[in-house]
């Protein structure tokens, strides 16, 4: 029962300023081609542990439940705030993963 990304992880906006204090929308298609029937999966967006960027509540992850089956499902993480100085960064990584599972796909958001 392997959940997989079936597209790029597409953030909006793709460029933000320092210090970071912005809301981002993330879109991605996910699929589990071996699933007998659709079932609820918990998806996570994760920020890299080594930087000072956080989701609200100084969390490094945000979760969202989605029902996923054999056919690709379009998933949207709406208006997700991220903040932090990101002083020494050129781009920061946001990774999509299944909760307690492997990384599915990641994107890099440019810092202007």
């Amino acid at each position: 029962m392997a959940l997989k990304a079936d597209s790029e992880l597409d953030p909006t906006p793709q460029l933000t300023a320092k210090p970071v204090n912005d809301s981002f929308t993330f879109e991605v298609d996910v699929v589990d081609r071996r699933a007998d029937k659709p079932r609820v999966r918990t998806l996570e967006l994760a920020l890299a542990p080594g930087n000072d960027l956080f989701f609200p509540g100084r969390k490094k992850t945000v979760e969202q439940d989605e029902t996923v089956g054999k056919d690709p499902v379009h998933v949207t993480f709406k208006a997700t705030p991220i903040s932090g100085s990101a002083a020494d960064l050129s781009s920061f990584r946001v990774t999509l993963q299944e909760k307690d599972g492997a990384d599915l796909v990641f994107c890099l958001i440019r810092l202007g």
Binding site: K4, A48, N51, D88, L89, S90, S91, L104, L108
Partner: protein, 533 residues
């Protein structure tokens, strides 16, 4: 003529020394030099100076074939160096060096000819002018040269920069990109320090690529990877695109390998079970072998990653298995075996599709990288010139005639005088003083002869009286002056005249002096002499 001989000899010696050095170094005959962009120009003009030749903006034609400028160079005024280069030359740079002795000139020549930028490290001469120009469509150029000082030798060092076609270094540049990609994804984020390091490594390796070419090439100034350039927003975007696409290859690659392994296993199971007849040679030919891997990241960054994408699409095989599966009872072992193979094929195809999304993105980013990479061949050509006043001796640049009025202190009348101004350096009257107006450009000693000095109150007489003292006689003027305009001068000094003793009982005359101030006009002696002779 003497200067021409000297210069020609210097060039010959320098060229000879360079050839000898190369031969000794290699220990075998030097290979024939590669074809270089040829620099051509009209023949140089002879030394025919006119007033126009000394004015600012004069054109000095350069002969790259003779490697010297026969005309004496204008001094104290800016001028233009003109000529023609091959149309392939996109940029021409000029550095003008000044040297004061023949030994310096030889050292400078030898040094400049070993550089690619007419600078190198510590050139043995003073760089007095630099300019760069994009030649016209037919190769013609005109380059500005700052005002030069007289009585010096000058080396005009040209760098003809010719872009190298991208296809001549593209494969190497893409290999450089491929080699630095792992460094971009060592950390989760792309830090500024990683960005700087990767940018520096790319720049260094591209520079090495140019240095290793038969005709040495360098990264053009202003290029993203030019020496001293910092990673800008373009490079940050490029690095982000490269890291994202390259880093995202790993997950679908691992998924693909797992899926393929599962497919091979499930096909084996199915072929050993009740559905074995479904696997006709035609169907088996459509199934991927265990060895069918995905193209690597190195292939993605190559110029033409020809990949047959149909090898990773199994719609035909799936349809064929579906058709066979329909013949078996639902829930049977045969149907289950075939269903597993169908799922595996769809999984392999899906993983490959996801992989190729980032493969294509990486290829596009590599294309962006290539659009930033540029090299240009740089051919150095040194041409010599001189501002030394040589054979044209009729041109007395140090002396000019002076004519004006002087007011002697405590005498009753002004006197007119004519004299000579002696400068301590050559003077170009056409040079605006606001541009070249140092003390030595303005100052001259004055020696003059006055008209008759008459002053009864001081019983003054001229130094040289005429027999009856009725005609014009002369006294001597000694002093100095400063030019306030190119031809107008304010001066001062002493008037030397004879004075009768104030005691009426003493009929004795003595030579005496009195200060004066003057206002005069400079006249160019050389022009007058040329007009006469």
């Amino acid at each position: 003529m003497g200067l021409v001989c000297f210069v020609a000899t210097t060039v010959a010696v320098a060229a000879s020394a360079g050839a000898t050095g190369l031969g000794q170094e290699s220990g075998k005959p030097a290979p024939p030099p590669p074809p270089l962009p040829r620099l051509t120009s009209p023949e140089v003009r002879q030394d025919t100076f006119t007033a126009a030749d000394e004015t600012a903006g004069r054109n000095v034609n350069v002969s790259f074939t003779n490697n010297f400028i026969a005309d004496r160079l204008p001094f104290d005024v800016p001028f233009n160096v003109t000529g023609t280069v091959e149309p392939s030359v996109r940029r021409l740079e000029l550095s003008v060096y000044r040297v004061s002795s023949n030994v310096d000139l030889g050292n400078l020549l030898t040094h400049l000819q070993t550089t690619v930028d007419c600078v190198g490290q510590q050139p043995p001469g003073r760089r007095v002018s630099t300019s760069a120009v994009t030649p016209g469509a037919s190769g013609q150029f005109s380059m500005f040269v700052n005002a030069l000082d007289p009585q010096y030798y000058y080396a005009f060092c040209f760098v003809a920069a010719t872009p190298i076609p991208t296809n001549e270094f593209e494969a190497d540049a893409r290999r450089i990109l491929g080699s630095v990609l792992p460094g971009l994804v060592k950390q989760d984020d792309v830090s500024l320090s990683v960005l700087k390091v990767v940018h520096g490594v790319m720049g260094d390796r591209i520079a090495q690529l140019g240095a290793g070419r038969p005709v040495r090439a360098t990264i053009p100034p202003g290029n993203l990877f030019a020496e001293g350039a910092k990673p800008d927003a373009r490079f940050a975007q490029l690095a982000s695109d490269l890291a994202e696409s390259y880093g995202n290859l790993a997950t679908p690659l691992a998924n693909y390998q797992d899926s393929l392994k599962q497919l091979i296993a499930d096909v084996g199971t199915a072929r050993a079970g009740p559905a074995k007849e479904a696997f006709t040679p035609e169907l088996v030919a459509q199934l991927p072998p265990a060895s069918r891997g995905l193209p690597t990241a190195e292939i993605a960054v190559s110029a033409d990653p020809r990949i047959d994408r149909t090898l990773y699409s199994f719609d035909g095989a799936v349809a064929q298995i579906e058709a066979v599966k329909a013949k078996f009872a639902e829930g049977s072992q045969a149907a289950a075996d075939l269903e597993a193979v169908i799922e595996d094929l769809q999984e392999v195809a899906g993983d490959a599709r996801q992989y190729f999304r980032f493969f294509d993105a990486l290829h596009a980013a590599a294309g962006t990288f290539m659009s930033y990479v540029a090299l240009e061949a740089r051919v150095v050509n040194v041409t010599l010139g001189s501002s030394v006043l040589g054979a044209d001796l009729s041109r007395s640049a140090y002396v000019s005639l002076d004519a004006g009025v002087a007011y002697p202190w405590r005498l009753q009348n002004m006197v007119f005088y004519a004299g000579a101004n002696i400068y301590f350096r050559p003077v170009n009257k056409a040079a605006p003083l606001r541009y070249k107006g140092t003390f030595l450009h303005r100052f001259a000693l004055t020696v003059g002869i006055t008209t008759t000095v008459r002053d009864e109150s001081r019983r003054a007489e001229d130094l040289r009286n005429t027999p009856d003292n009725d005609e014009t006689s002369n006294s001597l003027l000694l002093g100095g002056g400063l030019r306030v305009t190119p031809s107008m001068r304010l001066g001062g000094g002493v008037l030397v005249f004879r004075e009768t003793d104030p005691n009426p009982l003493i009929n004795q005359k003595s030579v005496t002096v009195t200060p004066y101030v003057s206002f005069t006009a400079d006249v160019d002696v050389a022009q007058i002499f040329r007009a006469i002779f």
